[in-house]
Symmetry: D2
Subunit: 336 residues, 4 copies
């Protein structure tokens, strides 16, 4: 089968095409023929040697992919040959709380990932693809969409009528916008690009703020919420955003801290107290959450925003395109 | 001021028009000039002497009403003169869990209610009316809508993509349908009337079942959910419905038990276990829940279904109309 | 290896000693050399053909056992050879909510169980044994203790100062008493035997009620709680107990429904409403819950009550002894 | 009646004895004859003009006090004349989530407080004193004990077997130690004083760390937890402690942020993410929480640690003593 390996965490040129034998599924594992994979910022960080966790040597990169089960190992009952599935970022986090051990097995990091024609996955590490999605669309979900769901719904217990402040228009943020809208929330999207703001508006953002023009976006967000403050913030961790998020927050509000921050931020713990804020570090989610999210996607007819699709052989170009930050929505690699 | 009193719990003829002095608000109380009130099944039960709790003697009936604050007592800060508000069914349940003491002060029951030109209410016993609603619409919310919100959202933690089985098309059920839809849920509505089913469909019900034609509606509901079972049931307590609700439920699903059941039902506790079901007795909700619901109504533009409006003097006719069960949606009394 | 098989669900005489090859662990499985097993009422029901679920044909019975990992399959990281572990009743319920698929794989039922010298278990289907417990003690935990933990703590969110009403002195009830005490709760234990009441008192029960002498035990329990009602009930499902449990409950209290009830019970749903009761069907628990419970056992020095220990060859006698209901605490089979 | 007023926020000399008329309770208010009051750090900050919120001019200081109801206003039903009660820090936070409006009415800050012979309090702003406590002991609970309960139990959902890291031996920390122990948790207490460590050990601390001798106390705490990390941290906000608390935390652990921090701290949001930490700003608690805590205190026989008692006239001396930080436990003023 075709695959790329990351020869070393030295950059996109280290992505090396290779030919490998198709692996065999063991007890409660399945073999998935992949049709598409998608990229996340983490994949750039890993390739560039900037990720906070070490990867498997010569790892097959990418956490996100979707395809069809073509073989099942002994004891498999949750899926069967022919089922369309997406893989789960964390292969051993079936459900429940995050624990050190169930957070340790991540595709495209500590485990080989999805930039290959086939992958062996745990039976509890795949979820059926909603019938309304193509494999290309399903491949966008495992990391970005599930992070947004975990933050807003599984952690934040989003209710209709809440106001959600969403920073930027990266992968997680766009899914957060779509999911929040699906659940009857009011959304505020920030961006420094009028073009991206127009796209957010087209996707249904209730309010938008161009923070390049309005640096005191936290005050603007507070005003939009009628002075009460926003109920939830999707904090993606840009420079100086954390303190502003707390300013924008209502008493007792939630901040979901996602994204991979380069260094230390200065935060006033007194402001966390003054707001009775709840700040939660979020990293993707469990298989249980993924199953719930897929039901929401199916019921609401949510369509992931696919920005650009690259062929398998051009995987390095997909990396470079994502790094350019020109995208709104997801960058995908289609395998056929 | 005009008011009706229930001379005795002997029927609708006991509703007696009377003229009373306008009451004065005390510490942290407000005087509300009422513009509309709405009826619930409980009001029929109280008038007919069939309610499970004793009422105040010569009670001013009705729990649900809306109008405008015209005077505030000392210490009031949450609302001010001129604010449009609705009253809270429980006057002393600001928030938190139900307790015997915060459940004991209900309008139109242990306390005088809303069938009068003015009412003195606790400052924590009113909520601002969303700007998008008329007073007639706001008057429909306190009991029926809040019960539905409490059941689905505050208790049931509804998520987009869940399937909600809603029994019938009474006041709570119609609001449950509207709220569930607002939050991206799939809905199944049962009724014995094709006309009411058509109205439920027009309101956005995903699936409907005429249980007169399909007595095994629990099997039909289960089939609609793809065999998985429904996530939540709004159980209004008709004859034999509880056992069927458990049959329709998914493993780990929720049943919200509402409505005022006349007698004992037979239930197989083994089925509660087999389903790992969670059954919660729901009675209206707290001021905190009402505030949250109103934000959802405002954000989603939800319009209560007002079926028929009676003038103040015809209050007894409104009771009789509700008892006829001809309605779909709420029966309201307008005061001017 | 030695094992018993249940030749047919026709009674304890159908327990048939047999010699089997030692099985091999697959991907993420471990081979455990068992040192002890314990019995639960479910085991009697299965042997007698009265269980609500079908068992594997010729099943090796018993869900509860403990021993030492002697071999690990590929991919195992949570435990290693030499670790003392107990097995999990549900082999595929690592964490999160109960789902039909994670409730379907139960030892000694749909899967071969622990009445054998060795068992192959999922790596996520074992938990390390606290150092303070012997294997005989650890073998008592998987079903009874975890059910009590799930009911009181994982579901009921027990807080110090709550009052817990515990019906009877069966396996689950005795663990519920010990765990509730460990968490600072007030406990009320009911029994028809003064001897068992004395044992409950010796274990730290705050209050006891002999329901044979005091048939209105629900009133006595309510009185003990100062008229407020109890916060939680461990409802094991005897005849007529469910309605009494609701009577004893405080407004907003929790009833954990456990045990395997023979038939239908009559319950007044109006009482569930009047109490704003929360009734939850509980069936054992997840691996995540088991890990948390073991930390509580270790921190609190909780010692399971082992009533009687039988040798492996006398397994049928252990069944008969449990059926006699003479025990207080757990009946164990030691393997060496 | 006797009272002190804070003439201006200029220091302890501004505490001015005065004679005032006994106030009258209004609707749903009670008049309490106070027997004792206790001091918290907030009281020092307010007197010194360093508090983050403005106070009422000429405020009667102190949030914490206990005594006996001597008169009830109209509509009061939760308590009656003769009941021993403590006041609630937040007079208008009966239950539910913190909101800007229910956090705005704090005794000894925005409202007159407890350094007076009598106080008029909301009926929902008092809680009955457990019979096992003296008024002096009850006066220690409203701020410090309730903050600890809110952090560990209401927010942190403490379970037996969890490990709680408690910074220092101030008022909140000592109660956190006692409450955590009552619920079967393992406790780690840090202090720079061997004398205070000895007192913590005497109160039942499982582990202690002298951070003056062991500056890397976060590593020591992690080691004590077997390398897994602690489940909860009571973060009182000393210099540089926040980052260390996150280091000590287990994956998915909770940090309760309490105390009044002088300025900005540097925190690495990447560490919050890496730990999947949940950080919650905690400020005292609701009446509902206080009622629950008092049941725990009564059931467990918890005795507040009263360090020193001053007579009413020596209130300024009590302030100075608290500021000296010589205390372990609470500083109280007795009124008779």
């Amino acid at each position: 089968m075709r695959a790329f390996r990351l020869a070393a965490p030295t950059g996109f040129d280290a992505l090396t095409p290779t030919e490998l034998a198709i692996p065999k599924p063991g007890h409660r594992q399945v073999l998935v023929k992949l049709a598409a994979a998608s990229l996340n910022h983490r994949d750039l960080s890993i390739a560039l040697g900037r990720y906070r966790l070490p990867s498997k040597e010569q790892v097959i990169p990418l956490s996100d992919g979707a395809g069809t089960v073509v073989e099942t190992g002994p004891g498999v009952t949750r899926v069967k040959t022919g089922d369309r599935v997406a893989g789960c970022f964390f292969q051993r986090w079936a459900g429940g709380e995050p624990r050190e051990d169930n957070q340790a097995y991540a595709l495209g990091g500590s485990l080989d990932g999805m930039l290959a024609d086939y992958a062996v996955l745990e039976e509890d590490g795949v979820v059926p693809t909603p019938a309304c999605l193509t494999d290309i669309e399903a491949a966008t979900l495992p990391c970005a969409a599930l992070t947004a769901w975990h933050a807003l719904v599984a952690h934040g217990r989003l209710k209709a009528g809440e106001t959600v402040l969403i920073q930027g228009t990266g992968g997680v943020s766009v899914f957060a916008l779509q999911l929040a809208r699906l659940m009857g929330a009011t959304t505020i999207v920030t961006s420094s690009s009028d073009a991206k703001i127009a796209e957010a508006t087209a996707l249904g953002a209730t309010h938008t703020i161009n923070y390049a023009k309005e640096p005191a976006w936290e005050k603007a967000a507070r005003a939009v919420s009628g002075g009460r403050g926003v109920d939830q913030v999707i904090e993606v961790g840009g420079a100086g955003t954390f303190a502003k998020s707390l300013e924008a927050l209502r008493t007792g509000g939630h901040v979901s801290l996602i994204g991979f921050l380069a260094g230390a931020a200065t935060v006033d713990p007194g402001l966390i107290m003054a707001r009775r804020a709840n700040v939660q570090g979020i990293s993707v989610g469990s298989t249980e959450m993924f199953l719930a999210m897929n039901r929401a996607i199916a019921a609401g007819g949510l369509k992931p925003v696919v920005n650009k699709v690259f062929p398998f052989a051009d995987a390095p170009a997909a990396y470079r395109y994502l790094q350019s930050a020109a995208h709104f929505g997801k960058v995908v690699i289609a395998f056929s």
